[in-house]
């Protein structure tokens, strides 16, 4: 009993020390800029008018703060984590799957939101989102978010499909032909979550509470659904531009997709539209996070403030087909985004979106869940016809 008490005391002591060191890590005031800031970002996330002249949210920042912005793009969450582990960067635009890994691995540091004047303007729904707010500590500023919508061809569908069943089960579409060979699904294990989300609505007896936290039985049901889907899908999509091409040249009429592809296809005059069906949808939410050993913390804080206050939120949401983390950016004319544009990108659907998380074996809702590495191997099996 005494030893138990002793270890309890030790635990409390460690907790106190740990929380103090956390608090000590945090900066309390912003000094002069260091002259540069190094950011790891998704492609297209940080534009300086070089791709299209109208889309520039870097030049003004560099002029105002004399912090030069250096961007290193990364194509997957894994690359982002690897780059942050290597070091030499100050900030990263991390998605929900990468952010928790980096917090757990202590690659990012707590952010003092008092030093970010525009913090109050951040969407209330994102201020304490679980993918960057851990144990009462903020680990970054929300950047952008978006849903994985159902894109469909308006020629094959007289009206918007109301259910994801058009991509999961064989049905005859409005144009009188079967959907076999005319639908696509995402070529990543996280698509299992979309199947789980569908089952959550249609098979409540399975008791799924989160599509990212599945026990063995729920997981098997999701895989069975995906095996049916394999019979309908000719090729899974991996690259946004290949999917765009498939909608144009391969006769694809429905697929889970991002608003990015929908906007590009519509901009090109293709007859497509998107919807979030009755089951809701999965989605992604990115956060600007700061490296634990950031060399340019002052410029990093200035950039975080810039991401929330400037034209960035508004113009980036147009550019990427995503939703700003600052709702005012939709309406106050700081950039090109409009209220209609935000609605089109899914701004009002926040409640119906289950944001991307990495499935772990120790899950909150039911103790033990199927971890992500099994999602990977089983999804490979499903695609291979097993």
């Amino acid at each position: 009993m005494t030893s138990f008490l002793k270890s309890c005391t030790a635990l409390v002591a460690t907790a106190v020390v740990a929380s103090q060191s956390l608090a000590a890590d945090m900066i309390t005031e912003i000094g002069p800029g260091e002259g540069q800031v190094n950011i790891v970002a998704w492609p297209g996330y940080i534009e300086r008018g070089e791709t299209v002249a109208d889309f520039d949210w870097v030049t003004k920042f560099e002029q105002a703060t004399s912090c030069k912005v250096n961007v290193k793009t990364a194509n997957t969450s894994d690359e982002m984590v690897a780059l942050m582990n290597e070091g030499g960067f100050d900030l990263v635009t991390a998605s929900g799957d990468a952010s928790l890994r980096m917090i757990a691995g202590k690659r990012v540091q707590p952010v003092n939101i008092d030093l970010i004047p525009s913090w109050p303007s951040v969407d209330e729904r994102l201020k304490e989102a679980p993918w960057h707010y851990v144990g009462g500590v903020h680990y970054g500023t929300p950047y952008m978010w978006g849903p994985n919508v159902l894109m469909y061809s308006t020629e094959a569908f007289a009206e918007a499909p109301t259910s994801w069943s058009v991509v999961f089960e064989e049905t005859t579409l409005a144009d009188g032909k079967s959907n076999q060979g005319r639908v696509q699904a995402y070529d990543g294990p996280i698509h299992i979550a979309d199947a789980a989300n569908y089952l959550m609505y249609h098979k409540p007896e399975l008791g799924i509470t989160s599509p990212y936290e599945l026990n063995q039985e729920q997981y098997d049901a999701a895989l069975d659904l995906l095996r049916v889907q394999r019979g309908l899908v000719s090729r899974y999509w991996h690259d946004a531009f290949i999917q765009i091409d498939d909608f144009k040249n391969e006769g694809i009429v429905a697929s889970g997709s991002w608003p990015f592809q929908v906007n590009l296809l519509q901009g090109d005059g293709a007859k497509v539209a998107s919807t979030i069906p009755q089951e809701g949808a999965t989605g992604w939410a990115d956060t600007t996070m700061m490296h634990a050993e950031a060399e340019n913390p002052n410029c990093a804080y200035m950039w975080m403030e810039h991401t929330l206050s400037s034209n960035l939120q508004s113009d980036l949401s147009v550019w990427f087909g995503a939703n700003p983390a600052v709702p005012a950016a939709c309406t106050d004319g700081r950039g090109m985004q409009t209220a209609e544009g935000c609605t089109k990108n899914g701004m009002d659907e926040f409640e119906r979106i289950k944001f991307w998380q990495t499935p772990v074996s120790k899950c909150e809702s039911q103790g033990t869940c199927v971890p992500y590495y099994r999602w990977v191997s089983d999804y490979i099996g499903v695609i291979g016809g097993r």
Binding site: D97, R235, E250, S361, P371, D378, G381, G384
Partner: protein, 313 residues
């Protein structure tokens, strides 16, 4: 003055070093060979062995963490139905691509080696090499457009009123599919196109070394052209064919871009390695998969050597 410069010349540190090296030739060789040997040993083979070592670890079923203890369990996982499918699929594809590439390359290389002269030789080299100069991705994407359901090839079949033929072909299970660009046939055609130069050039080089007089002698001794080909030309050109097949076979075994863009999304070894080492964090299985092509190539080279393919080298 000249005396002074001669004097300093003989006593400078570089001169002394050069004198010393001249007296110790072994040291000179050692110094010259160490950097490339280190490169080969540490960076090239070292990384390979680091990878191989990973494959003897395993992933913990419950926590998903890597257990750093020697085990063969990860290799056992290669034989689960889904993983074994991937290996068989890749090897069959690599073998099919290699055979087809050899069949197509031989006549081309023969023409280039025997009949093409001057300007036409240059045209041949340019024609074979030109695709290698453009980006690999550009070639693969353009093939995707050619093979698409609404692409050029389909349009051509329609113009020629041959669409029924294409549809009948695509209805064949396994090699068919919804359109050429989502079928095995499509993946095969793109592999064949992309790796063809690696087969043509070695065959052409080996055919150029076959003396014309041998073929003439074979004819004079009464062999018909088929026999001359079978008993004289082919054995002499075989090292080139084998060299080319090593390229096409191993390149197909390792590629992970083409099957992602053209094909039915069913995984090849390269793609499996790519997805296992990512977010999944299953490095041991990725490493075990990476060992598969090494073993297959080892067996392949051993068989080729037994068949005497390297005797002429």
């Amino acid at each position: 003055m000249s005396d002074l410069s001669l004097h300093t010349g003989r006593s400078g540190p570089l001169t002394r070093l050069s004198d010393w090296l001249w007296r110790n030739p072994r040291m000179l060789i050692l110094l010259l060979l160490t950097p490339p040997a280190l490169w080969l040993g540490i960076i090239y083979l070292g990384s390979l062995f680091a990878l191989l070592a990973q494959s003897f670890f395993s992933i913990d079923e419950f926590s998903g963490l890597i257990v750093y203890e020697f085990t063969l369990k990860t290799y056992g996982e290669l034989f689960t139905p889904a993983n074994f499918d991937i290996i068989v699929r890749t090897v069959v594809m690599a073998a099919a691509v290699t055979v087809a590439a050899a069949l197509i390359s031989f006549p081309i290389a023969y023409y280039a080696a025997r009949y093409a002269k001057g300007k036409w030789k240059a045209v041949f080299y340019l024609g074979v090499m030109l695709p290698l100069w453009s980006s690999y991705l550009v070639k693969v994407y353009s093939w995707k457009l050619i093979l698409a359901k609404e692409g050029i090839l389909n349009w051509l079949f329609e113009i020629l009123h041959m669409k029924w033929l294409l549809e009948a072909y695509l209805a064949i299970p396994v090699i068919g599919g919804n359109s050429l660009s989502v079928s095995w046939t499509g993946t095969f055609l793109v592999f064949l196109y992309v790796w063809l130069p690696f087969m043509v050039l070695p065959i052409q080089a080996s055919l150029e070394r076959v003396p014309t007089s041998m073929l003439e002698a074979s004819g004079d001794l009464g062999a018909n052209p088929g026999q001359s080909f079978r008993y004289v030309l082919l054995p002499l050109a075989l090292p080139g064919v084998i060299a080319g097949s090593i390229f096409t076979f191993s390149l197909t075994l390792g590629d992970y871009i083409i099957p992602q863009i053209v094909g039915s999304s069913r995984r090849f070894i390269g793609q499996a390695v790519y997805s296992y080492q990512g977010t999944a964090g299953n490095i041991p299985l990725a490493a075990a998969f990476a060992v598969v092509p090494i073993v297959i190539m080892g067996v392949y080279l051993w068989v080729a050597k037994r068949k005497g393919a390297f005797d002429a080298l």
